[in-house]
């Protein structure tokens, strides 16, 4: 089976040759299997967002190769393999909720009927059916982020790229959104690459956590999270959950010391 994502020997240097040259990533090798939920975890400046953006063809690597579903990243982007969710919901404020969700389908030239039907289904999925006709400003931050997720999934991309999607939300909303994302992941079977700097968030959500270290960004270790599925609030109190938190923390700490 083709890997969803195969990253080999990727380096990224911003502004090479100038005085503000930054080595963001060095020697990244990573393979993600289809249907996996993988988190990129690390301190700020470890290049986790850059790595996500390289996968999504928003940034080109300086050296190395990225294959997505067996294709190059630019080709995968043209084939609409990516659904992207940023930290900011980035909704188009002049469009109602339902028309925001329809936008990717509109750009892809899908018919009106299909668009409406898909958008309704996606709003059902994120439980915002009754807010379809609202404008983004009328929604809370958590609801806006759910619209962004619905929009990213509307065209059934094979890979969902999420860049600290819950970073701007309060803790309670954040935990609810995590449960929601897991439910959606289970329902859609999409591969998810998730960037975060929260250790519990990474452990709770992922099938594997990629722990990264800073300056330059490298992979310090990969932790398999073998917690039972489906996960829920009980998972957060599971003894194994704490063991995994500790395992991840120790890798982060060992990197810090070196």
């Amino acid at each position: 089976m083709t890997s969803a994502v195969a990253i080999a020997a990727v380096d990224k240097v911003f502004n090479p040759g100038s005085t503000d040259q930054v080595e963001a990533l060095r020697g990244i090798d990573l393979t993600v299997a289809p249907g996996e939920f993988i988190s990129l975890l690390g301190p700020s400046g470890c290049g986790k967002s850059t790595l996500l953006r390289i996968v999504g063809d928003l940034v080109t690597p300086t050296t190395g190769t990225v294959a997505v579903n067996g294709k190059t990243a630019p080709q995968a982007r043209k084939d609409r393999d990516y659904g992207i969710v940023f930290q900011q919901a980035t909704l188009y404020e002049w469009r109602t909720v339902v028309r925001n969700v329809e936008l990717p389908l509109e750009v892809m030239g899908r018919g009106k009927e299909e668009r409406e039907q898909r958008a309704r289904a996606m709003l059902d999925l994120v439980q915002l059916t009754e807010f379809a006709a609202h404008f983004p400003y009328q929604l809370s931050g958590g609801m806006q982020q759910r619209v962004a997720i619905a929009r990213a999934l509307s065209f059934e991309p094979s890979i969902l790229l999420m860049d600290e999607p819950f970073g701007a939300l309060d803790e309670m909303t954040r935990e609810r959104m995590q449960a929601e994302v897991l439910r959606i992941w289970a329902q859609t079977g999409t591969t998810v690459v998730f960037v975060t700097h929260s250790i519990p968030e990474a452990v709770f959500l992922s099938s594997r956590v990629v722990v990264m270290s800073a300056r330059p960004g490298r992979i310090a270790g990969i932790v398999d999270i073998d917690l039972p599925q489906p996960r829920d609030e009980v998972t957060r109190e599971h003894p194994r959950f704490y063991e995994k938190l500790t395992e991840v923390r120790e890798i982060l700490r060992s990197v810090d010391r070196s």
Partner: protein, 271 residues
């Protein structure tokens, strides 16, 4: 805080009255003060006529000042339309060819801060002085620059994330323009339009001070003032300010219809 608890509720007649009462009182008080000062200090009528006298002249001269006002208003609206269309077209061209933007913006910003109204006498030479054109061209120029500058900003200052998302959908440049850049520019453009309404009335009236057909508001004001008919001049000024307000409100109504989603409309759109 104790005592009165303020809650949100539907606007009632009572709250509407309370909302507009201060402005109403100031208006009435101001007129009364003006009237009193003129009478008490026995100010010469050609220096400052009483409001009651202006009102009487306004009624007597109603036909003349309103038809003059309408001519000037038409000139302002026509010039506004030319300036707005030209400004938006130029902005769209710059979004297609950024080189035009980089080449033009410094000049546009420079020209925008010069008194374009000073061109009025020149326009009077370029176009038939009694036609609508010289005034309309001054108005068009006055409106063109703010509209173009704001439209360029609105089209280009789109948040990076919005564009990256469109990229990830594999959107064509045309889709990015119509579905993101143009809607994003609307608030910028409308704020230029609102400034433009006021500027266009000013430009139309002032350009008429330099001559034109007798039926215009500017010509009427300058001639009546020259004849020491100050009440007539004031009555015409009243028409000019009323035209400006009407024009402004008309644009605001269009704005509300076009962008009910915008922050400035939130109290109107409701939740």
């Amino acid at each position: 805080m104790t005592g009165a608890v303020t809650t949100r509720r539907m606007p009632s007649v009572g709250t509407a009255v309370r909302h507009y009462l201060p402005a109403g009182l100031i208006f009435i008080g101001g007129i009364a003060l003006w009237e009193t000062v003129v009478v008490v200090f026995d100010i010469e009528r050609f220096l400052l006529p009483q409001p009651s006298r202006i009102a009487r002249v306004f009624v007597d001269e109603f036909g003349v000042v309103v038809s003059a006002g309408w001519l000037t208003m038409r000139k302002a609206m026509f010039g506004f339309a030319i300036g707005a269309i030209a400004g938006i077209s130029m902005a769209l061209l710059t979004s297609r060819w950024p080189l035009i933007r980089d080449g033009m913006m410094p000049f546009a910003v420079a020209v925008n801060s010069t008194p374009i109204i000073a061109l009025a006498p020149i326009m009077n030479n370029w176009f038939p002085i009694t036609s609508i054109w010289p005034g309309a061209m001054v108005v068009a120029l006055v409106v063109f620059f703010p509209v173009m500058i704001n439209a360029v900003r609105g089209l280009s200052e789109v948040p990076a994330g919005s564009l990256e998302l469109m990229d990830s959908y594999g959107a064509a440049p045309r889709d990015v323009l119509f579905k993101v850049r143009i809607p994003h520019s609307l608030p910028y453009v409308f704020s230029a339009f609102k400034v433009g309404t006021t500027l266009s009335i000013i430009a139309a009236v002032v350009s008429e001070y330099f001559g034109g057909s007798r039926e215009n508001l500017g010509v009427y004001i300058s001639q009546q003032a020259a004849l020491f008919h100050f009440a007539e001049a004031w009555a015409a000024i009243l028409v000019a300010s009323f035209s400006g307000i009407v024009f402004y409100l008309a644009v605001v109504m269009v704005e509300r219809a076009v962008m009910p989603w915008h922050a400035s409309m939130r109290n109107v759109a409701g939740t």
